[in-house]
Amino acid sequence: MAVPATTSHILLAQSLPPRLLHFFTRFPPTTTNQTTPPPTDPSRKTNPFTPFLNPRTQRWHGPHYSLRRQADLFKLAQEHGVLPLMPMSAKHPEEKLRKRVEHGLRVKGTGEGQRVKGKLWERTLGTRLEVRRKAMERMPDMIDLWKERGHGMGWKKFPKGKGKVGTGRENEVFKTENRAMWVYERAGSSL
């Protein structure tokens, strides 16, 4: 049953550009403003922005409006404030926003809840700098001990690996606690 057009509706229709008006004439909002699966009705009175399967011939037909024309219509609809009357489409601003949130800027890892994996050196940079900082903290002690031991004459422990971080061997050569112990032992022996 047709809804009687009110004055506001008529005014709205008169304010719309011909292109949008023609669209609403062909596909009135009351029947198209809903997300529906691909239509099976041969009269194609459902969403004109989605592909259509003809139930009789079982052949698919493209949407009434190409994606380019859909985008034009949505731009016009947004300008004239009739976006809620438009059927759902991939070009609908809400849908585009949802996809932007989901996929981010189409750069892998920039979406919501995602993170950029990064190169190996980027992922390990924090750890490496931390290990280096700790090594530099104990360096004065280490050099003192090295000098006390005759500039390496009495040095016993040498690194096994290539000094790579993450091998768990960062502390095998020297620990600040060891130095304190060594000084203590030396003092004890001289007494």
Binding site: R128, I143, P159
Partner: protein, 79 residues
Amino acid sequence: MAKKAKSRTIAVRLISMAMTGYYKTFSRPRTHRPLSMLKYDPVGKREYQIAVYNWANAEMLDTVKRQVLFLEQKRGGGK
């Protein structure tokens, strides 16, 4: 066949104890004690620049760029 005689000197690698991965190569007599010396470690500038531009937590940085202890790397069993 007679085994080839071992050379009198060997090439050794001295590793920076600042854990930067920087090393220097020297040769020493095979029978000499392992080498150790204070040497300049130039590492730090590049990482610092990267971190300043890319990282928010730049305060955790530590450039070396000073004299640190270098110790000879232990040699493998096959050598």
